[in-house]
């Protein structure tokens, strides 16, 4: 009884999914989260800029000790991962299940590289004595990149759930896949701003 009910509900769900081009992708609650998250990060970025303008020399000096190479590689890693997520979502929309699984798998591999690279970036810094207590730049750096890293790890969990849905559901939930995808793009977007503010800005 409840099984047939579930399958009916599922069919209704599938019909309501925005298969049409131009429809609003993902769940509305995720958009609430993304817009709010961008506002919160935005407030932190403004605070960072304000404090940076108070002691520009300290900030610039510490910033120049940043490993821009690792930062750039991380940017490429995340952008590539995001590309695979976008292609994977397209594949799900086109009902190409095997392709979408392969693409999301690649996205997760690239996404998982990010925390590994972060460890290789943080550990030498901490070993060299550049801890959050050294100055305000480093405090901002560890707090903000740490917060972003938390988002990456959460994103990997979400991508895992997306892949499970594609693999196990008879009809993959396109709206859920899109929800995961837009979250992952937000993580990407935040990193681009972080990279610009903490590594590149002069």
């Amino acid at each position: 009884m409840s099984n047939t009910l579930e399958s009916v509900v599922h069919k209704v769900d599938v019909r309501e999914q925005p298969q049409v081009v131009g429809a609003f992708p993902g769940q509305p609650s995720m958009w609430f989260f993304i817009i709010g998250d961008l506002l919160i990060f935005g407030a932190y970025f403004i605070a960072y800029m304000a404090y940076r303008s108070q002691e520009p020399d300290v900030f610039l000096q510490s910033q120049q000790a940043m490993n821009q190479g690792v930062g750039a590689i991380n940017t490429i890693v995340l952008l590539t991962s995001s590309l695979f997520v976008a292609l994977g979502t397209e594949a799900v929309r086109a009902q190409k299940i095997r392709d979408s699984l392969r693409l999301f798998g690649l996205a997760m591999v690239f996404g998982a590289l990010f925390p590994v690279l972060k460890i290789f970036e943080w550990l030498p810094k901490i070993e060299a004595g550049h801890t959050p207590g050294e100055n305000l730049y480093l405090m901002f750096y560890y707090v903000m990149t740490g917060l972003h890293l938390f988002h990456v790890l959460l994103g990997l969990v979400i991508l895992g759930f997306v892949m499970r849905n594609i693999k196990t559901a008879a009809n993959p939930d396109v709206r859920f896949v899109e929800t995961g995808a837009i979250y992952w793009h937000m993580v990407d977007l935040l990193w681009l701003v972080l990279f610009a503010l903490f590594y590149l800005m002069r």
């Binding site: 919160i40 801890t131 305000l136």
Partner: protein, 275 residues
Amino acid sequence: MSDSVSVDAPGIKAPGIKASSGVRQGEPWYKNKKLDQYLCFWSVPIFYTLFGLVFVPLSWMMPPRSPDSSMAEIVAFMQSENLLFACVILILSVGLAAVGNAVYMTQMRRMTVSPAFRFAFMAGSITGPVVGCLFPMFCFGLGAFRPDYDPEILAMLYDFGYLSFIGCLGCFCLMWSMLGLSILLDKNNILPKWLGYYTVWQFVTELFAATVWIAKTGPFAWDGLLAFWFNMVLYVPWQIIVYFYIYKAIQNQPEHELPNVLPVKAQPMLQGNAL
């Protein structure tokens, strides 16, 4: 909406009483099946009003004083008589927090999540106030309790008090993360999904308070823009909104889901078995 009461016919309801408020037609208010939840709910505004009055105008514990204060300022603050008075009021009333938290747990029980979430929530709601409320009160109360304490000792108690007050926000992180995850995983939609996401921000920003253990001045110190004020801007509206939706959830709760009416519901079944 009004699924909890079946005996009501439109037009004969008492004015001002909603069908879903748990009151049966013709029954006095104290027989309301949701009275327990409403009492817990209304303990919260009482508790927070008391909290606000004691923290701000009575003792000026809040907004937090600077970790950089001079010894004279610290001693004057720690020995003020109002501070002892404030600590006593809070130590006596902190139990109200437990009553208020019961209302979350009652609604979390209706969510389609493992009971582990509620147990972890409860553990967090116990450890949080012990470290974040009782510890600082014991520290701050001591200065006025025995005015001839060495200023060095008072300075240590001042640090201890504020660090446990603001640096313990991580304890509450467990509690609110359990609530947030329950809201997001729940398939009964007891609380709205966006509120679950708001709860995620709430508990993640609380983790930021860890910086108060490192920074003694600036935005990451315990009185700083990012470690304290920013969290407050997120927290205060969240607390009000979450209670508003908890209230709506109590109102919308069907009566057959209330654990305290279960024995009555179980009776016909028992009789049926006996027959």
